[in-house]
Symmetry: C2
Subunit: 374 residues, 2 copies
């Protein structure tokens, strides 16, 4: 009887791995719980906004500050994995043809430390360039950004700075980094791109311990939405890989769904139990519409929490039906708001499964610790 | 003495023509006051907004209605020239790779009647495509707009619908139409494109009778602005061609300058003298900033009037310092607002120079007649 159970569990694992392999890179080593501790720690870097006002002194200085935040968090927490939770760059500010340069800068503190990571897109990552109004004053368009000699009316315009597409950003990240676990998701979910699932194995590598779903919540060049097609894809995928909801699941995307607005503490009020967090300075800037993802998520007991960025002035977690809705913490010096920077940390354990989270600040302090599961 | 005067005037004309030829097409026949009557009539087609919601029945039906408005105006007024005053198309609604198809439809009623025309850009003409939010619901992206087979993650994305640039729109208009007097303006005014001047000669062809300046007031892919560089270009150009302000000048662009807000009748109030018009249903949606063009224009006694579109619910003319600021009339069935459609008509005469305007409606009536000069 015991042999059959082991056999079944191995078959199940093989099925999972073959399903996952269709959408994941075959040459990446599988993610595993840490041997000995049986833990796995993830740092969420949200809203880094690299590349703001690159034509001023201010902009590049912000990116240096963001480097410091990430380095501090990585060195104090020593996470096993990093999630770049969208708005990695501010493409609408980037007056060069290819924004992958700034994306690459944003992931370099993680890469330098040989920590694997994955990314999802935010609304700013593929935005079209917005011409600064002041470039039309007497001082004119800075020659460094657009030398007159390169302006041509005869062919394509070299200085249109239209932004780099999600697909291009992702392709470059994956091609240049063997620690990047990001995946250009299924074509039928286009224009959404960062739709994929990663599996964390148990420390002995024999069974799945956690499934991490990444969804593209749009914005930028298309509406701020998780489409019906994405919701259906998640439902189908999760039922195939984890039909009995035996494996815990966590979800990452950038723009809060409308469900966040329903559970949000009143802006500027104290964050009271059952919610946990430290800043509550604005209203939830939620997606434009809800096409089914929340009902599908809450119908699965295995889905423990959703993590989003987008609102720099919010860092709370609140329960919503069967799961937790959490904001990350504004990590970058780019983007609006001057609340102290930090990063939400997630830690899972095996035997038994637990899911815990807290926020690590740039000054070294931690707060808002919360046990989400069990 | 009389001979010298004729000689001087001929030399002057030659100078003008050579200055103009640098930026105008050499094979176009010069525009002339009509022999006999000594008049020249211009119809302004503003805010046609072709190509709205092309994936519905409603959108294409609007374009047919706009065809009818233009045909009615052209057949009743029989103008000698047409100015397309921007927002010819609604590029943010056009889910095809190349929007010139819709631009071409918009100019066809004029071309069919062998009437010459010129165009300036509005803020909608090169806008980026805005994905309809409803395409992310259960019905999904219409296959006709973006067949799944054409979606590729490996190269450039064929369904990004990023809009057609001003330069491309203008190049196509000019290349395909020998009646188009539009000009891709000086490269140093880029990203502004529709910056140029056209000369109307006296009926005997011996002297200039009117200078028509076209300026690109931005919007769409860059700020809604007439730049400092454009203002300087106008000043230099006008002083070269018309140093003593002997030749009357009229100006066309799309988005009202901030000066319009200063003279605007209170929204929804009766339009009282000295203003003349029939609808006053909204606030002036003016440019973002003023970089000198208004001071330069009002310093020239030869500048008689500025004509803009953009606000569909306004059709008035009001005096501003030494000149008139006029709205055209919403001509297209595309774009917001359901006020009856029409077109502002301008008529100039030689010996003596006069400038008159009125509005011709789709139902055949006229109103708001105004003598602007002398």
């Amino acid at each position: 009887m015991r042999d059959i159970s082991v056999l079944l569990s191995l078959l199940f694992l093989l099925l999972n791995l073959s399903l996952l392999s269709a959408s994941s890179c075959k040459d990446k080593s599988p993610l595993r719980m840490v041997s000995g501790s049986g833990r796995f720690k993830i740092a969420l870097f949200a809203d880094l906004h690299y590349g703001e006002n690159a034509w001023t002194d201010w902009g590049p200085a912000q990116d240096v500050n963001s480097d410091v935040v990430m380095s501090t968090v990585l060195d104090s927490e020593k996470p096993d994995f990093v999630v770049y939770l969208g708005d990695v760059i501010t493409a609408n500010n980037i007056a060069i043809q290819n924004a992958t340069l700034y994306w690459d800068k944003a992931i370099s503190p993680t890469r330098k430390r040989r920590i694997p990571w994955a990314s999802v897109f935010g609304n700013h990552d593929d935005m079209y360039f917005e011409w600064p109004s002041e470039w039309f004053s007497a001082t004119g368009i800075p020659q460094v950004n657009c030398p007159l000699s390169s302006i041509s009316y005869s062919g394509s315009e070299p200085c249109t700075f239209r932004g780099t597409t999600r697909v291009e950003l992702m392709k470059t990240e994956i091609a240049n980094n063997n620690l990047a676990y990001s995946i250009n998701g299924p074509r039928e979910l286009w224009p959404g791109v960062s739709n994929y699932v990663l599996q964390l194995l148990s420390s002995d590598g024999t069974k799945p311990a956690l499934l991490m779903y990444f969804l593209d919540s749009g914005g930028g060049t298309y509406p701020e939405i998780i489409s019906y097609a994405q919701a259906q894809w998640f439902e189908k995928q999760s039922q195939l890989i984890n039909p009995n909801s035996m494996i815990p699941e966590v979800i990452f995307w950038h723009i809060p769904s409308t469900a966040y607005s329903q559970v949000a503490p009143k802006p500027n009020s104290v964050i009271a139990k059952p919610c946990v967090g430290s800043i509550n300075k604005e209203s939830v800037a939620s997606q434009e519409a809800e096409w089914g993802i929340m009902d599908i998520l809450t119908a699965r007991p295995s889905v423990k929490a959703v993590f989003v960025g987008h609102n720099h002035g919010l860092d709370w977690c609140c329960p919503y039906r069967s799961l937790w809705l959490c904001f990350a913490r504004h990590t970058g010096y780019g983007g609006y708001g001057s609340w102290p920077r930090g990063a939400r940390i997630i830690e899972v354990t095996e035997n038994p499964f637990t899911l815990k989270s807290w926020i690590r600040m740039e000054n070294g302090s931690t707060h808002s610790e919360l046990v989400m599961s069990p």
